[in-house]
Symmetry: C2
Subunit: 276 residues, 2 copies
């Protein structure tokens, strides 16, 4: 996402001495309504920075700074100590950050700029659907579908080297024609790719307390693991390859796909390799 | 991107003993034409995997496997030894990979699936414009703009720990109303965020040799480093903060933005932290 920091940056330290910063970004965005209108809005997003990235932000990020953040969505849940309600808050844990302000300060907005001011607020998720999608029709006659998608985040504990795993649950909202189709073809257990903007909405409990819910408003939902006839035309099978003269034959004893252990795999390449 | 592997996987070893695999993916995609039609196409993309990710692919990726790849675009250039022409090829260097096939094999395509079959082929680039954009009008009367964008990739050499830097150049193509606006507000030196699909097209030299060029066909181009009045309304300035009673005052001696050294910053967090 690309946003503007709204507050002075405060660094805090974990008991282990690691710096942590919570940025509070405003992310202006534009999107197309079902009617084709361009609507504008602002999203607010908490972004947590760790380690030397936090120190860097403490030194150089100021209120109004424009920042690019790449990272993963994380929802923290807890029980309210007085009401015993379940509470949760979704934030972005930053994996990379770019300060976007020119060295001599932000430049004025060019007069012709309109489409080129569109901001970046996007979450991409590959995960499993946790419950059958629910579709309902708004009073205005529009279809809206809600979907739960779980992703598995994996990482190594830096101090112990221990492999850690955490399931992350995402609330996904889909509108219109895509909602209708997803309602038909996606079920509990389906594997999907979901892409959309992250939006936090506020609501009030019956006791008048303010609560927030963070959702991915998806404009793409692709069903994964399905046979795609058009793509398979381009696939050169092992058999075809074996028929042609070759120096290194493909492994004929490659394991069947049923033997594949873990289907998620991360590189050993450091995040420093990332282009931004 | 999400694609299907087209060939049997072959592992090779660098002289240093690191495994390398080049995947050849077909990425079926759909996009909206200027006229609002949904057009379908297929992109072919080479993806390079290193280290244990390459070994993993050698063991589990088969022709037809569906795979999610995240990574960075890299263009390798060389001089043709006979013609002394400059040649180049753009590939994706994978930073993460997910095998998408269900353990018991791909499922048949649901009959209602149409929008949910849309594939993923997207490159996001934050970089500097290397030359003034060129706009021309096609014979059909459509505006098309070409743009050069440079990104700085940084990484640490794994063996020596040496900090490395490499400029990467991207060819960007923009159509329609966005092209027209970009032509007005973007100039050499502008900082932009570009998002679009990666497409490789083939053409022939005057000598009849086949050549390929890889471009990002962008549907978003955002001008960065500009003042955004709407966003700035949400910014709480240091002065406002200081006026309110606070426990920790913001650093009054924060450096001016002119002092910011390097505006690109990568986390120490390992890529294992990535959600996919």
């Amino acid at each position: 996402m690309i946003g503007y920091q709204t507050q002075p940056v405060e660094i805090r330290q974990t008991p282990g001495g690691t710096s942590v910063v919570d940025l509070n970004l405003v992310v202006p965005y534009a999107f197309q309504s079902e009617q084709g209108e361009t609507l504008q809005g602002k999203a607010f997003q908490t972004v947590t920075l760790w380690g030397s990235m936090a120190d860097f932000a403490g030194q150089y990020v100021r209120p109004g700074s424009q920042i690019f953040i790449g990272g993963r969505l994380q929802t923290d849940s807890w029980e309210d100590q007085t009401t015993h309600e379940k509470r949760s808050k979704t934030k972005v844990v930053a994996l990379d950050m770019i300060l976007l302000d020119p060295k001599d300060g932000q430049v004025p907005m060019p007069e012709a700029a309109k489409l080129t001011l569109s901001a970046v607020n996007r979450a991409d998720v590959v995960g499993n659907v946790t419950r059958d999608p629910e579709i309902r029709t708004t009073s205005g006659g529009k279809q809206v579908l809600t979907l739960g998608v779980a992703t598995n985040d994996r990482w190594k504990e830096r101090s112990t080297g221990e492999a850690k795993k955490r399931a992350e649950f995402h609330n996904v909202v889909i509108w219109g024609a895509l909602a209708e189709e997803v309602g038909k073809v996606v079920h509990k257990g389906s594997r999907v790719f979901v892409s959309g903007r992250v939006q936090t909405r506020s609501w009030e409990t019956q006791q008048g307390q303010k609560r927030t819910t963070t959702e991915i408003i998806a404009d793409q939902c692709s069903l994964l693991g399905v046979r795609n006839a058009s793509a398979l035309e381009a696939v050169e099978t092992s058999a075809q390859r074996r028929a042609a003269p070759r120096a290194t034959p493909p492994a004929a004893d490659a394991p069947a796909s049923a033997d594949i252990p873990e289907i998620q795999y991360a590189s050993e390449v450091k995040v420093e390799d990332l282009p931004f």
